[in-house]
Subunit: 330 residues, 2 copies
């Protein structure tokens, strides 16, 4: 079976680890990773979401933190502070820096981000095929208003420096409108047997991937069932500050509202949202009330435990998603 | 008093520390640093000699090693090995990497190496004005013959990887012929009260600096006395493998031969060596026999202890050099 999953950072990576534990030998997993979080720091290209997936599946992640490397050292960060060179709010450890150095050197030598990602995965052996959503530069910016006025800041500045404490007035995936899907992305979607939306951020992770022209349309047109898992449990994000960016796109922080935001597969888009995508949707047992609402929208819905407390609990979520795919398969 | 010193790496930096201890308050030291050792690694510009001077005078050097940073960590090197990306033979610690990241980012933003060096020195406060010999790229290559045939390798490959175990057939400062002295270099030489050649490598350190068109001529034309200190004691280099590169330019490994290689100030060059440079030359007491030979060439010579065993011993060497300058001042 060929499984395609769209993924952001920490939540996506943890779900993928459960998915790997859930699938049968011979099943192939292709991950389309968000690159809208990418940022240039110290002259290097940093791809936080791709790296989180790679490190998590390759056994190098800092488990408690969810991002960055295990057994990390912080000499460069200390030196940068001595040199007075920022940003201090973005934590890049020394081991992590090595990845960005290798990536940046290859990009400078005119390899594409896809090729670089493949090369990095030769070491990490994540057990999935990891594709960036695009080889073109896309950077998510967030419109905010503070005492300095209204302006757009890089997503990382909004998320990591400002802790999403200000309202996000708009989410702007800069460059997405002219970006092309990376080689292999559209083929993987078209030939998939199942397409999964992990409980990643629906706006700045999955939403950014879908903003690359051609990807949303390919998912909507795919023969494969499309199954999503709610990142919202009991009216709040499981982790992170997804409520802030959901509000920016006019979506309530509920499991049902996020399903409606993705839309029923093939349903005409409204409000600039594009064609609908979901065949099935999993909500947490705490949101069992939402099942009827979601099904009223034409999306098959089940309530199961959705807390990724450990790999086994996460694998159970993945199995439920694959089972739901079989139930809705046309 | 304005003192100008040409300097390579470890030997030059240690001499400069003694010089700083020897001078009077208000004296100004300008260091013209060799950049022929520079190398591009992992997409970054590495300037080993400038950094050794900066770290040594700024209090950040690894004392025993003589190069690199104190309290260093080696996470990136370990990661590069995991990624299979070399060279493994060149040791760049994590703290050191921070310097190369800052430098490379500024160079990419079109600052000159002079400007970058000045910016780095804002942190390191070396107590001297540190100028690269040139803002243009110069890379010393060494011609060798091994089982793969005759070829030129980067100086660092010859020195660090091959430990100078093969004969150096020629020393080629690639790019030197079209390089220009960095801003301030010629002015510093012209307005100096004393010019010093520390006991750095006469070929690949001082020799490379002098290979930048205009610098040798400016030293030869300077009003200031030019005093050198022999890096050869008792027929062998004090440290390093200077005998290998001296042989490549047809110079014996003796204190007298190195003085003759630099030449008496204003003496016409022969064998492609260019105009002569020295007013005075200091040899070690072990080489007292050489004094008469050197003076026969018209260079005032004294024998004093030349081992830089500690800062005080080194300061005594610097004081002797400054005293000799007064004796030969015209």
């Amino acid at each position: 079976m060929r499984i395609v999953a769209l993924a952001g950072g920490i939540g996506g990576a943890r779900f993928l680890r459960g998915l790997k534990a859930a699938v049968a030998p011979g099943d192939e997993i292709t991950v389309i990773g968000n690159t809208g979080d990418d940022i240039h720091l110290y002259g290097l290209k940093v791809c936080p979401d791709l790296d989180t997936v790679m490190y998590t599946l390759g056994g190098g992640i800092h488990e408690e933190q969810g991002w960055g490397r295990a057994d990390e050292t912080w000499s460069i960060k200390a030196e940068m502070k001595e040199y007075g060179i920022g940003p201090e709010w973005f934590g890049l450890g020394d081991r992590d820096f090595a990845t960005h150095l290798v990536r940046s050197q290859m990009l400078t030598a005119d390899y594409s981000l896809s090729q670089v990602t493949e090369a990095l995965c030769v070491r990490w052996k994540p057990g999935v095929r990891l594709l960036p959503m695009s080889d073109d530069r896309v950077e998510t910016h967030v419109k905010i208003t503070d005492e300095a006025g209204t302006r757009a800041v890089h997503f990382q500045e909004y998320w990591v420096k400002l802790h999403a404490a200000l309202d996000a007035e708009a989410i702007i995936p800069v460059g997405a409108d002219t970006a092309k899907p990376a080689p292999g992305v559209l083929d993987a979607i078209a030939s998939a047997d199942v397409i999964l939306f992990p409980p990643s951020n629906p706006v700045v992770s999955i939403g950014t991937i879908l903003a690359v022209p051609g990807i949303r349309e390919a998912v909507a047109a795919a023969d494969a069932p499309v199954i999503g898992l709610s990142p919202i449990i009991g009216g709040a994000p499981v982790r992170g500050m997804a409520d802030k960016v959901l509000a920016a796109v006019g979506v309530e922080t509920t499991a049902a509202a996020v399903a409606r935001h993705y839309g029923r597969k093939g349903a005409p888009g409204d409000g600039g949202r594009g064609v609908g995508l979901l065949d099935g949707w999993l909500v947490d047992t705490a949101d069992a009330d939402a099942v009827a609402d979601v099904e009223a929208d034409g999306i098959t819905c089940r309530a199961i435990p959705l807390l990724m407390t450990d790999v086994e609990a996460t694998a159970a979520m993945a199995r439920a998603a694959l089972e739901l795919a079989e139930q809705v398969r046309r």
